[in-house]
Amino acid sequence: MIDVRLLEGVFNPGQFIGQFTTAHPGLGAVCTFVGEVRGEGGVEALELSHYAPLTLPGMESLAARAAERFGLMGILILHRVGELRPGEPIVCVSAIASHRRAAFDAADYVMDHLKSKAWFWKREKRGGVWSWIEPRAQDHADLARWD
């Protein structure tokens, strides 16, 4: 099963993962990654904007590529949009496979691609002032691992 969603409000990853896992009887491995908003450096809030015609279709395409490449039984991708506060989950990827290596690698692959290729723009608020987050060289280096 491929399940990809953009979420407008705070979510509990465990709820989604529990249901998603239950929907795949006979699985051998589940690898889940949850990313949260870092509170370092006085960040008060993070805002994610997206472009509806491209963002979700792009994530669905990524999920399908990961499922094919790693022979997954299922892949769940949840991504927040809107304004978030430190400590809130921002992304959750859960890969379900027969064996652990495929599940580990698929979650890693999806996260690297979400970080540098998905259509999200982020800005953060510090001291009451918003500033845009620029692309990072590290994200592109991470992506190159999969070429």
């Binding site: 723009w121 982020k122 692309p135």
Partner: protein, 78 residues
């Protein structure tokens, strides 16, 4: 009317996330924008989508009524 959509910091440059424009050739539409905004959207790293589809050769675009043209700056990293 047609619609321009500005993502990320281009929305700050434009002063709005969307702008209604008269249909016509993209070159003419850009000519009607503030110069700093026109330069920002023509940055080679900015991708352009017409009605939700990324396009490779935006130079020849002609917008008709109801079209949506989006300017997508590089996405933010982690």
């Amino acid at each position: 009317m047609a619609r321009l959509v500005f993502l990320g910091k281009l929305a700050d440059r434009a002063g709005a996330a969307e702008m209604a424009v008269e249909p016509g050739l993209l070159a003419g539409i850009l000519g009607g924008l503030p110069a700093a905004l026109a330069v920002a959207v023509l940055d080679e790293r900015v991708r352009i989508a017409l009605n939700g589809e990324l396009i490779a050769n935006p130079e020849s675009i002609e917008l008709t009524a109801g079209d949506e043209l989006a300017f997508l700056p590089p996405v933010s990293g982690g």
